[in-house]
């Protein structure tokens, strides 16, 4: 007989939490599917929004950094391609961070009325931004055809870096969305961080522009490692990865993921009382 005994006690972190998470995988899929199918309802151009936004930003950056500021590209890669190869992970990171951090307050009615592992909500929103990412990846393909630029074998590593970008956003996203339940201040922090981060991260320029002695420090921004990785995969050898820096970015991502999950788990029990 499939008898499961559940004990509810204060401060008890359930042993079967991760098993529970697995049991609720269908809810995860359905919430993700809901977010995707609702996202562009009642809009005129619909999914095209996922293309228009990064595309326009890419043009502006190419003009400002490439033409006006005349920053160097990686080798002889077209500047627009270099910008867009960074735009992809950056948009993925920023939208999933934004969505994840607002996700819990957005589902207040669910949280106060039904039980399920709360981790499902922010992680499901990340899927939505991933779908947007796939759509805007089509532009990348289009641009590569336009510039007659063939990717090398490096592109096989791309899925790894996509996952890295998602994890990079999920860590702080989980932490902030949990804090958001208690203190709504954090709702105003994320848009600012995202806006600021766009200029701090090497999106509009190559990370080689940064002087050698500062590069390690620069990699404390986890997105530097991810963006470098994307460029390396898509544009090939010209945009080599600075490995020590990449290790630091990776460590930061792992640290934030650990922080996010543990903090989220800690606060999860009281969400329904505070939201």
């Amino acid at each position: 007989m499939d008898e499961q005994i559940l004990v509810i006690e204060p401060g008890r972190t359930e042993k079967n939490y991760w098993a529970d998470l697995w049991r609720y995988r269908e809810l995860f899929l359905i919430l993700a599917w809901r977010d995707i199918s609702v996202r562009y309802k009642q809009t005129i151009i619909g999914v095209a929004w996922a293309i228009v936004r990064p595309f326009l930003t890419m043009i502006v950056f190419t003009v400002i950094f490439g033409r006006l500021a005349k920053l160097p590209s990686d080798g002889n890669t077209p500047y627009a391609l270099m910008v867009f190869a960074a735009m992809l992970p950056w948009t993925l990171f920023s939208t999933s961070l934004g969505e994840a951090s607002n996700s819990l307050i957005g589902s207040a009615n669910l949280i106060s009325k039904v039980y399920f592992p709360r981790l499902i909500i922010p992680t499901a929103t990340v899927v939505t931004s991933f779908v947007d990412f796939l759509i805007s990846f089509l532009i990348m393909a289009g641009m590569m055809i336009y510039y007659k630029f063939a990717p090398g074998l490096n592109i096989l590593f791309l899925p790894g870096f996509i996952l890295l970008a998602l994890l990079a956003s999920l860590g702080p996203g989980l932490w902030v969305t949990a804090l958001n339940v208690k203190y709504r201040d954090f709702r105003y922090v994320i848009p600012f961080v995202v806006q600021f981060g766009l200029y701090v991260s090497p999106v509009g320029f190559s990370s080689k522009v940064v002087p050698e002695k500062w590069r390690l420090l620069y990699n404390l921004n986890p997105m530097v490692g991810v963006i470098d990785g994307f460029r390396w995969c898509i544009l090939g050898g010209e945009s080599s990865i600075y490995w020590p820096g990449f290790a630091i970015s990776l460590a930061i991502i792992v640290f934030f993921l650990w922080l996010g999950v543990t903090q989220f788990r800690k606060m999860e029990k009281s969400f329904a009382d505070l939201i």
Binding site: E3, Q4, I5, L6, V7, I8, E9, P10, G11, E26, L27, I30, L31, R34, S37, V38, K41, Q42, S107, N109, L110, I111, S112, K113, V114, Y115, F116, K182, Y183, M267, K269, S270, A272, D273, L274
Partner: protein
Amino acid sequence: MDDIVIKAEKLGKKYTIGHQAQRGGYVALRDVIAQNVRGFWNKTRDLMQGKPIIQGDQQEEIWALKDVNFEVKQGEAIGIIGRNGAGKSTLLKVLSRITEPSVGRVTIKGRVASLLEVGTGFHPELTGRENIYLNGAILGMSRQEIKKKFDEIVAFAEIEKFLDTPVKRFSSGMYVRLAFAIAAHLDPEILLVDEVLAVGDAEFQKKCLGKMDEVAKGGRTILFVSHNMGMMSNLCSKAFLLNKGLIVKEGHMEEVVSYYMKYVSTASNTDKSYKIKDSEKITKDMYIFEANTIDDSSNVVSNYKIYDPVILNINLKINKYLQDVVLGITVKDHHGRKIFTNQRPLSSFELKKSNNNIVFLVQIPAKILVPGTYSFMIGLHIPKIQIIDLLEDVCMFNIIDTGSELSMYEGSDYGCVFANCEWKLRI
């Protein structure tokens, strides 16, 4: 014992609430600034320590549940009774793991589903079909299960035509019907239900009740919170009575409901009974000195079950006997509509002239009045000649449905009396 499925031990749930301090007199700018700075400092400190922000200057702890112990056996249907704020919903929230208890522990055996609200997580932009899958998943059904029951749900909700319409275009009736239909097809071992049956029109309510009954009889364990006593009496065999977070009584439904009503009435019977205040009246020849409603063991009460007789106790004082005096009562409902009048000439009783203090007991037969709030008009008069004493709207009392055949329509107007008609087939 093996068949205990829910066991709660010393369960408690604490909330902290804030109060604004009382401040009299005029307010100086200096004080306001100082207070804001202090507030900011306190909030920052709370943030650092990970405490939630509580508005107000003074904090108070409230125990929504305190020292709650109980056991529920496999297949029992249990009603949870209590006034607003007694902790009923908090108890369900703790049991369904939505919120964590502050102390104590609960052990639950089996799959739990909770229905604290119908239509949780419905998305207005999605169609009826999509929302069935969404809501089903939220309530804990698997896709396979939903698929299997899909047609049944749609038929139950009677929305076949609108399956592919976004629910934001649904009428509110269709919306709740769909929501309830999904919930009703949940198939857990333990079901926690919070006041969700009060949806839809009478027809649909009857259907819902039938479905709940079926679930209860199907050997599943149900915990049920409602204010609708009639419905609960029909569904549940046992009950818990909660008051201020404590279980004050548990046992058979009938027993707990009686206890609840007595206990509610002790809290409020002082203004429900009448006693003369007007000193002018006592110079009259005859007057009503006191009147109150009592139960069959002479306790003053104001809540009756439909199967209880309502007894009105009238105390007359007599200074001088008058001829042809009639004592009459009229029962009025809460709209002020008169339900019936009943009267007796005093001469029909054998009264001793020397007795200047007479007590009458007027018994209204059980199961005449439908559930609701009523009051009495009591009059002492000589027909067509003189009104000697008249009390308007005294001795308020409530009739509470504890399982009549019409209990499913509770809240809607189905008339003002129960009539025991004879029905037969014409051959």
